[in-house]
Assembly symmetry: C2
Homo-oligomer: 369 residues x 2
């Protein structure tokens, strides 16, 4: 617990205490000022747990430094509101913490990715009689290797905490639009095999890199689909992201590996996606290296529809793979919606407009009223 929390309220404290009654901007600053670079989330998780403890309408479960807080009001719908509580490392000389209020922006590590979203979650947690049952998830280890991901830990250890939800909102920064679902991502190695020989006498061998010409030609010719799922358009993509071949400058190469990344719409299963790649390269040796399915946005569900209608903002397909796919894997469609410009996530000059924090909070409270 190396964090040195500082309150922007002017009341410096030695133990990190979060005042949920403060406005959302103050609460965002307080959360950011409890430094919680990945693997150092204990203090901020303690602070969130302590802040929620007095709220009688919530039941909390802690797994490592991941906290789940649920209402149990017998509503006809249940929605997950989720956010990760870790950040990427701070800048140095100077560090981009503690936060600074500059005009109408709050500057500092985590303001965008994603303590602002967490602050909005916490403000929503104060609503004692929400219009639907809520499952709040505050999770660790999102910014690093997936083995540390708190959502994965819930999936592995306590999936029932998530699985009964109709819909999930991940409060990652989207610039205050709704990004629905996400594409899946598959990586495959397409290997050509040749016969090594001295390059002065190539007729004694067979050039594996030359055989890769056909692999690349198929990638160039490939026409990716754009697939509509629940009203959102997902643009698929099939790309070489790596190529490697060759032994020495005077040797005909006996092997060439093309690494292909297929980004596929969430109407396809992981197996569907693998079949597309195997089909495209049916006459080559293909190994699927990794494959993570996408997530449907679930905008055909009443809970999701109501959320989008209440917000009244633009809704687009999420193209990149995100943690919404972890909800999808637990049977729960999900969207991203949160304050902050995603292009400023991880940025040295990470900062969020105050009005985005306030409008995101207002939108959620309107929906829960």
């Amino acid at each position: 617990m190396s964090s040195s929390p500082q309150s922007t309220s002017g009341n410096a404290t030695t133990a990190p205490v979060l005042d949920l009654s403060a406005d959302v901007v103050t609460l965002t600053a307080a959360l950011c000022d409890i430094e919680s670079v990945s693997l150092n989330e204990a203090t901020v998780c303690d602070a969130i747990e302590a802040a929620l403890a007095p709220l009688g309408h919530l039941t909390t479960t802690r797994i490592g430094n991941t906290l789940v807080a649920r209402t149990d009001l017998g509503r006809s719908e249940r929605v997950v509101l989720a956010g990760h509580i870790d950040t990427v490392p701070l800048t140095t000389e100077p560090a981009n913490l503690p936060t600074q209020r500059r005009g109408e922006e709050l500057w500092g590590r985590g303001t965008v990715d994603m303590k602002g979203g967490v602050a909005v979650q916490l403000k929503a947690a104060l609503v004692a009689e929400p219009s639907r049952d809520l499952t709040f998830v505050f999770y660790e280890g999102e910014e690093i290797d997936s083995q540390y991901n708190g959502l994965l830990h819930i999936h592995q250890q306590r999936p029932e905490l998530i699985e009964d939800a109709d819909f999930a909102v991940l409060l990652e920064p989207t610039g205050s639009i709704v990004e629905g679902g996400c594409k899946g991502t598959l990586r495959a190695e397409v290997v050509t095999k040749g016969i090594a020989a001295h390059s002065a006498r190539p007729w004694n061998g067979h050039n594996a890199i030359h055989d890769a010409a056909e692999v690349l030609a198929r990638l160039v010719a490939y026409q990716p689909e754009t697939v509509e799922v629940d009203g959102l358009e997902y643009r698929e993509a099939m790309n070489a992201v790596g190529i490697a071949g060759g032994i020495a400058g005077n040797v005909i190469p006996d092997r060439c590996v093309v690494t292909v990344n297929y980004r596929y719409a969430p109407d396809k299963s992981e197996d569907d996606a693998a079949a597309v790649v195997h089909q495209l390269f049916s006459d080559f040796v293909v190994t699927i290296v990794d494959n993570a399915g996408g997530a449907r946005p679930g905008l055909d569900r009443p809970a999701a529809r109501a959320f989008v209608d209440a917000l009244g903002v633009d809704v687009v397909a999420k193209q990149g793979w995100t943690d919404v796919a972890r909800f999808s894997a637990m049977g729960v469609p999900a969207v991203n919606f949160g304050p902050g410009d995603p292009n400023l996530a991880h940025h040295d000059e990470e900062r969020v407009p105050v009005d985005q924090l306030e409008s995101a909070e207002a939108a959620l409270l309107r929906w829960l009223a």
Copy 2:
């Protein structure tokens, strides 16, 4: 001087003394048994220098551990007989030295590459009245980086020792056929440049590996020439010998490098060869990485013709680049001719048939008579 010379004549000596009157097989064994792995040629060079010193028809010049011995008989022709005196490292457990006579073969490091050829040179050096003037070259550092190559040192420091020759014979193992000249070799990097982007949104970037499809397609479609030079056929070749591209599994690659090796007939200069590659990839960024011209066989010259006629063996084009190109660079056409199977050079079971040593010696002496 770490060598531990042993004589196969049965008369073990502490100082390495070469008896040039011994038969060529015994002389080969004696040369091999003076271990001379590259950078350790001093002892064997000393021994050769001492053995040639009593021969009044030779004038010697030493450069490092490279020895040049010349006749000066006023003949109308001058021919170089050259061989390197270093070897690749010995095997271990057991070492493949000292040499062993097994039936009709002599086994051990250097028997093929190329102390057998050096023994034939030394037997020829005994001829006091050769039919043409001779320049013997015994040189160091052939098996390692070219900066150590004794022929290169002559070229740099005393080119006049070579340049007055009409023709050169390099006694590298050829299985007792004549291999004429050699092809040149050029390496170039053909680079494609793209724009990096997240692979979930490739439309924001440009894939440099996909652009390399066209580079590979041209290599596949390229029809290499077979060029006749001085009656020998050189098969050209244009091959990718390396390819590398890609930053990470989720990034559209912004750069791909194809390393191309062009092996070209000795009718082309280095500049001619570079022009072929620049022309083939005129719309790409091309960098010539290295370029070593080939060597004409010189079979249109009387001295070369007489050599081939006297030997009465097959004559073929040398496809790989060899040190004959170093003679070519000094204006002297050259061929390879020597005892031993080149496929056994550097081999753990390196060995030469006794009759190849004897027939190579006999052929050279017939020609010099």
